[in-house]
Amino acid sequence: MKHLLSTADLSREEAIQILDIAGEMRETGTRVVKKLPALRGRTVVNLFFEDSTRTRISFEAAAKRLSADVINFSAKGSSVSKGESLKDTAQTLLAIGADAVVIRHPDSGAPARLAATDWIDLPIINAGDGTHEHPTQALLDAFTLRRQLALRNGTAPTGLGLDGLKVAIVGDILHSRVARSNLWLLNTLGAEVTMVAPPTLLPVGAGSWPCKISYDLDAVIEEGVDALMMLRVQGERMKAAYFPNPREYSRYWGLDDARLGALDAAGAETLIMHPGPMNRGLEISSAAADSPRSTVLDQVTNGVAVRMASLYMLLSGDLI
């Protein structure tokens, strides 16, 4: 593995290996001394062209726990806002002595472009590009699902996929890089995916995706689902006529208290996931977010482990 750009690039073997290594990394996070010496002397640059506190600090924590040096480069207030090109920024980082680049960019494909050009020859990790992909989010979601199931079954998660698991991804699929990365990875790991959204928030062309498509969240819940991944609905969507107003969205596609009640009444073991940050009261009610089904904080913890595993695999040699 030279770069981590898209979950579509991962074989089942590679994906499971990352999850297994993340499992080991997660164990070290429970120790008093959380640090590993694996990447001592290496420099990881977090190149963030888009605001993101959560993902950036997760990558920062991951790199630091592996003893790497971390440089945070945020486009705001930097020379990028003065018109510096991606090429010049990347080459500047190389000249500074970076060993790997973690990039978040508002344009789909920017990390792929960095990886494909001869501007720099460094491992690139995609930390979210436009509405394209967010592979470490999908990996941490898969890790969370796998671990929760293993805990429930009293088995060890190591080496397992997600075969036969039913996962519904609910919300703004059109603009979601999380949905796309999850689609490919969940399929690779053997899960069955259903995308649930208003038709305006599903891309034209999604009919070709390896998943089911539904406009009806209640029907999907009634059919039975092992996990509901709720996606954040961004405020600006309201202005662009994707749906009439937040209340109507919430009534049809929000995980509200009534739907939470339906899960409980059916005795379902459905997990509730959310990549954060949540809009409580819009796509997810507070009761749902705080219920025992919710894996929201577990996802954050697992995010550090998955990013440690990704950095480790890219920087300390090919394991496959």
Binding site: L86, D107, A110, D129, G130
Partner: protein, 434 residues
Amino acid sequence: MNYLIKQASILGGDKQDVLIKDGVIAQIGAVEAAEGVQVIDAANLVLLPGLVDTHTHLREPGREDAETVETGTRAAAKGGYTAVHAMANSTPVADTAGVVEQVYELGRQAGWVDVRPVGAVTVGLAGKQLSEIGAMADSRAAVKMFSDDGICVFDPLLMRRALEYVKAFDGVIAQHAQEPRLTEGAQMNEGEVSSILGLPGWPAVAEESIIARDVLLAEHVGARLHVCHVSTAGSVEIIRWAKARGIQVTAEVTPHHLLLTDEKVRTFDPVFKVNPPLRREEDVMALRAGVADGTIDVIGTDHAPHPSEAKECEWGAAAMGMTGLETALSIVQHTLVDTGLLGWEDVARITSTVPAQIGRVADQGRPIAVGEPANLTLLDPAARWIVDPSAMATKGRNSPFAGMELPGSVRATFFHGHPTVLDGELATPRRVDA
């Protein structure tokens, strides 16, 4: 200097000798070489009328870093062209007699091809007020084609008025069909590939709805409409319907839309970023069929050179456009001739005869006959070559065909009897004042 083209296959037909004397075709048949006549062996070459492009961006004035009239027309000559229509989106915009005369004069001085400036439909391409269409038509540039290319004349009332008004000057409106609201922020064709790449989609309906509206407007006011760079299967159907109804509409397709699909965007390499976007395989096939059955009238390159920094960036930040003058005839051969859809007579029609008629370009697109101006192109259809943008005459390095092996090599171009290209290399421009 006079020239004797020996044993050329005229429009792919019988081999004949063609004598060019004082800028015109003086004799066709078996012609003996005489003193003072340069003989060109064309035993394996096809003789075509010089190509006429309906859609070229020469970038001058304003963006001389991207292209100049000199470099753009060199590229045209090398591609077998003897005339190009220079689009109006320069800086300043070609919306006055002054600017179109400047471009015309630059072309005349360069001497590689006839440069026919296109006038803007609206002042500053702003879509608010008609440009001085009459003044441009009556200028030395004698503008006949008007276009806001790059921007759609979206306001239906303004489009109606433009179509009506140009009738007074035997003009034509060349429309860039793109519904602006449906394409806000659009980056690529909307479909399966865009759904995976997460790039904002450019729906086919944004092109088709404008074409449907415009053909109805053209019918209503009895005006000529030319549709630039048709890119979807639906557009072909609408134009086919309009023609069957007798509406005066002509349509153009670019070479790149005849070959490339949105699958190329998976690389995220902005060399494939273009307006209108690369579409699906079904669209490519429908466009080829549209050319074959005459629904699409002409090949227009939409040659759009950009400086390297405009493409050496992420997809979203990159400029739209591709070069095309030096690869057009090869792509036409590859997609339409070698596939059996067209013969060389048809190629002459879509690359020269009809383009010249649409733009009312005198002395271009004429039959290969005695007494006609010697605007001619010699093509070696058996040659194969690998596209190398750095070896091109255009300043633009943004060829989407880079690295591809293509058939057909332009061996010579005669511009009013003067060879601008000989032995496949640029020769000299035609100096009118010398």
